[in-house]
C-alpha cells in the first residue's frame, strides 16, 4: 500500500445486460470497463466525462450501491469487492454520498433534523437523544444552516440550502471519503460558488477525501487535485490537475477542454469541435472507442485498444496510440 492511499480501484468492471427478447443472445452495456485509479487521503479526484461515460456508475460501485462484476475496491487496505452486505454496511459510515438533485434526494415527509439524525440512529444507536440533537445542531451550523430552521421540511428551502442539508447528512457520521455525484450541477452560478467554497472549507477542516463526479470542467479545475477523464466506460487520461488543464495529452481531453464556453468574449481561441455524437454504449467502436470522433485517428486506432501509459514526468497517464 502506498502511503496515505485511502481508496484504490483496480480493473473494475460493470456490465449491464440488455436483452432483446427471449431467444436473442445476451448483450451488454459496458458501463465501467477495466477502470483503475487511487486516491490519497485529503485529496480530491474528479471523474469527468459526458453523459453515458460511466462516471456515475463508477461512483455507485465504489459505494457498494451496485455490485461490481470484476475488479478490486480497496478502501483503507480492505478489499470490498467481494464483501458481504453486512461488511459493506459498516464501510458506508466512513464513505458517504452527496447527490445531484437536492430536490429528489431528501425525503419530503421528514423534518430536516430527522433527515440529518437518521444516519446517526443507524450507525450510532448508543447515542442519547440529547447527544444526537447536539450533533445535528453543530453540523447544521457548520454547513451554514441556522438550527432555528431544523423543524422545517425540505420544500421550505431553496436549492442551495437543500444541497447544504444533503452535505450535512453526509458529514454527520464523520466520513473519510465523500462521493459527490454532480453536487452543483442543479444550482445557479451564484449558489454554486457558495457550495463549492463550503466543500473546500470542509475538506480543509476535516481532512476529507473527495471523489467528485462532474461534467463541468471549470468546476473540476477549481476543486480537484487529480482528474480522470472518462469516455464510454474507460479512463482515457488521468493526471494531476495542472497537467490536465495546462498540457492535456489525449485528443478527447483536448476537445473536451476546448468546447467549454469561456466567459470572456475577447478570448477568441481555436476550438476543436468534435464531429458526430457519442457512440451507442451497447455497441461501442472497436479498437480505441474514441477513434470515430478523433481528429487524429490513425489506422491502428480502429484495430487495437490502446493501453494506459505514463507520458512525460508529471504522473500523467494516457490511453492513446499517439503515445504508445
Amino acid at each position: 500500500m502506498v502511503d496515505n492511499e485511502l481508496l484504490k480501484v483496480k480493473g473494475l468492471k460493470k456490465y449491464f445486460p440488455i436483452s432483446n427478447g427471449w431467444f436473442s443472445s445476451k448483450e451488454y452495456v459496458k458501463a465501467v470497463d477495466e477502470v483503475s485509479f487511487s486516491v490519497k487521503k485529503g485529496e480530491t479526484l474528479s471523474l469527468v466525462g459526458e453523459s453515458g461515460c460511466g462516471k456515475s456508475t463508477l461512483g455507485r460501485l465504489i459505494n457498494g450501491l451496485i455490485k461490481a462484476d470484476a475488479g478490486d475496491i480497496v478502501f483503507k487496505g480492505d478489499n470490498l469487492a467481494e464483501a458481504s452486505e453486512t461488511k459493506w454496511r459498516s464501510y458506508r459510515k466512513p464513505m458517504q454520498m452527496i447527490f445531484q438533485d437536492p430536490y429528489a434526494s431528501l425525503s419530503p415527509r421528514m423534518k430536516i433534523k430527522e433527515i440529518i439524525a437518521e444516519p446517526l440512529k443507524i450507525h450510532d444507536p448508543s447515542l442519547s437523544r440529547e447527544e444526537r440533537e447536539a450533533k445535528v445542531k453543530s453540523i447544521l451550523e457548520i454547513c451554514g444552516i441556522d438550527y432555528y430552521h431544523s423543524d422545517k421540511y425540505p420544500h421550505e428551502f431553496s436549492g442551495g440550502q437543500r444541497q447544504r442539508i444533503g452535505i450535512a447528512r453526509a458529514l454527520i457520521l464523520q466520513p473519510e471519503l465523500i462521493i459527490a455525484d454532480e453536487p452543483v450541477s442543479a444550482l445557479d452560478v451564484s449558489i454554486q460558488a457558495q457550495i463549492l467554497n463550503l466543500l473546500k472549507k470542509l475538506q480543509k477542516d476535516y481532512q476529507l477525501t473527495y471523489l467528485f463526479i462532474s461534467h463541468d470542467l471549470s468546476v473540476v479545475e477549481h476543486i480537484s487535485d487529480h482528474v480522470a477523464v472518462m469516455y464510454l466506460g474507460n479512463i482515457v487520461e488521468i493526471a494531476p490537475r495542472e497537467a490536465i488543464f495546462e498540457d492535456p495529452k489525449h485528443p478527447y481531453t483536448k476537445a473536451l477542454l476546448s468546447s467549454v464556453p469561456i466567459p470572456d468574449p475577447k478570448l477568441k481561441r481555436e476550438s476543436i469541435i468534435l464531429k458526430g455524437e457519442i457512440p451507442n454504449a451497447a455497441n461501442p467502436p472497436k479498437g480505441c472507442k474514441f477513434h470515430t470522433r478523433c481528429p487524429l485517428a490513425m489506422s491502428i486506432c480502429s484495430k487495437e485498444i490502446p493501453i494506459m501509459k505514463t507520458v512525460g514526468d508529471k504522473q500523467q497517464m494516457v490511453a492513446c496510440h499517439l503515445y504508445q
Binding site: V189, A193, H222, P263
Partner: protein
C-alpha cells in the same frame, strides 16, 4: 429603437389563490435584424416567461401580460387577435426550447412534423414541402436526412433532436429565432456543435436570435449584446465586450465573478451572499439591495430606473445615476 423587436416596460403577473403576483416588472430591450441578443439571469428571474410572452404562449396558464408593449416590426404583438398571431408564430418568429424530447411530438414522424409547418405557412404542396424539409435537415447538419424523415424522435440522440428542432424552427425562414436554453440539456461537445450551427444560421440567413440562458460562457461565445435580468427586471444592458470588461451593476459583477474560469483557478470563489427575494414579498427599493456589497440608504427606499448612459449602455443602479438624472433620462 431597434428595427425588429422592441419590448417596452413589459409586466407579467401570475395568479395564485386570487392574488396577482408580478414576476416580470419592467423589462425593456430590443433586437435589430441579424443580431444575436442574450438574456441572462438565474432561475426565477423571469427570462423564460419574457420569451414566452413574445410568442404569447402562456395564454392557457395563469400567467398574463398586465402591462407594456411588444412591438414586432410595425405590430404590437399583444394587440393582435389569436388568428393574426398564428400567422406570425412559426413563420416570422420561431422558437426552440431546452428539452428537445418534450417539444417534439413523440408519436409523429420527424418528416411530418417538419412538413406541417411548411405547408401551412408557405403554402407549398406536400411534395415541395418534403423537398424543403429534407433541405432544412441537411442545413442543420443531419446525416442521411431522407431516412430521418421517416423516423420518430425517440430514435435520435439529444443533439440530433435539437438539430431537428432547429430545422423545424428555421423551415419557414423566420426573421427572429427565440432559443430558450437550447444547449442546457446537452453535453459540452454537442453544445459546441449546436452553438456553431446557430451562429452559422445567423451569418448565412441573417436571422436575428434571442438567446435565453443562464450560462455566461455561452453568452460570451455567441451574443452581440446582452440583457441581464434579476428578480423580474432588466438590471443592465451592454454589448458583450463591454459587459464582460466593465460590468456596471453589482449583480452582473457578482455573477461574472462567481463563475469558475478554466486557467484562472482561485482558492476561494467569489459568491453572492443571500438569495433572490421571493416575488410574493418583494422589498421596496432596489431588489438586489439585500445582497449588494455597495448598498446605500437610497437603494432600500427607491427603486432605480433603467437608465441609458451617454454611450448607449443601460443600467438600473443608484451607483451610476443620481435622482436628477433619473428624472431627466427615464426610458420607456
Amino acid at each position: 429603437m431597434h428595427n425588429l423587436l422592441n419590448v417596452n416596460n413589459l409586466q407579467i403577473a401570475f395568479r395564485k389563490r386570487k392574488k396577482s403576483i408580478k414576476v416580470v416588472n419592467g423589462v425593456d430591450f430590443g433586437i435589430s435584424k441579424g443580431e444575436i441578443v442574450g438574456i441572462v439571469g438565474e432561475s426565477g428571474c423571469g427570462k423564460s416567461v419574457t420569451s414566452l410572452s413574445i410568442m404569447r404562449l402562456f395564454h392557457d396558464t395563469s400567467g398574463e401580460v398586465v402591462g407594456g408593449t411588444i412591438q414586432f416590426k410595425e405590430k404590437d404583438l399583444l394587440e393582435l387577435s389569436e388568428r393574426e398571431m398564428r400567422r406570425i408564430r412559426g413563420k416570422e418568429i420561431a422558437m426552440i426550447f431546452q428539452e428537445p424530447m418534450t417539444s417534439l411530438n413523440p408519436v409523429m414522424k420527424i418528416g411530418k412534423q417538419l412538413i406541417q409547418g411548411i405547408m401551412l405557412h408557405l403554402g407549398l404542396n406536400r411534395e415541395e414541402a418534403k423537398q424543403q424539409a429534407v433541405e432544412m435537415l441537411k442545413l442543420v447538419g443531419i446525416p442521411r436526412a431522407e431516412s430521418i424523415m421517416n423516423e420518430y424522435p425517440h430514435q435520435l440522440s439529444g443533439g440530433m433532436r435539437q438539430r431537428v428542432m432547429i430545422a423545424i424552427a428555421m423551415s419557414c425562414e423566420p426573421e427572429l429565432l427565440i432559443a430558450d436554453e437550447p444547449t442546457t440539456a446537452l453535453d459540452v461537445t454537442i453544445q459546441a456543435q449546436i452553438l456553431q450551427l446557430m451562429k452559422k444560421i445567423q451569418r448565412e440567413r441573417g436571422t436575428a436570435i434571442l438567446l435565453i440562458t443562464h450560462d455566461l460562457g455561452v453568452v460570451a461565445e455567441s451574443c452581440d449584446r446582452v440583457v441581464v435580468m434579476y428578480a423580474g427586471r432588466v438590471v443592465e444592458e451592454a454589448t458583450v465586450e463591454e459587459l464582460f470588461e466593465s460590468p456596471l451593476h453589482p449583480y452582473t459583477q457578482g455573477l461574472i465573478e462567481s463563475v469558475p474560469k478554466i486557467g484562472n483557478r482561485k482558492e476561494e470563489l467569489y459568491s453572492i451572499p443571500g438569495h433572490v427575494p421571493n416575488p410574493e414579498a418583494m422589498p421596496n427599493g432596489c431588489k438586489f439591495a439585500s445582497r449588494c456589497p455597495y448598498v446605500m440608504d437610497i437603494c432600500r427606499e427607491r427603486e432605480p430606473q433603467l437608465v441609458s448612459n451617454n454611450n448607449g449602455r443601460k443600467q438600473r443602479c443608484w451607483l451610476h445615476q443620481s435622482i436628477k438624472e433619473e428624472e431627466r433620462k427615464t426610458i420607456g
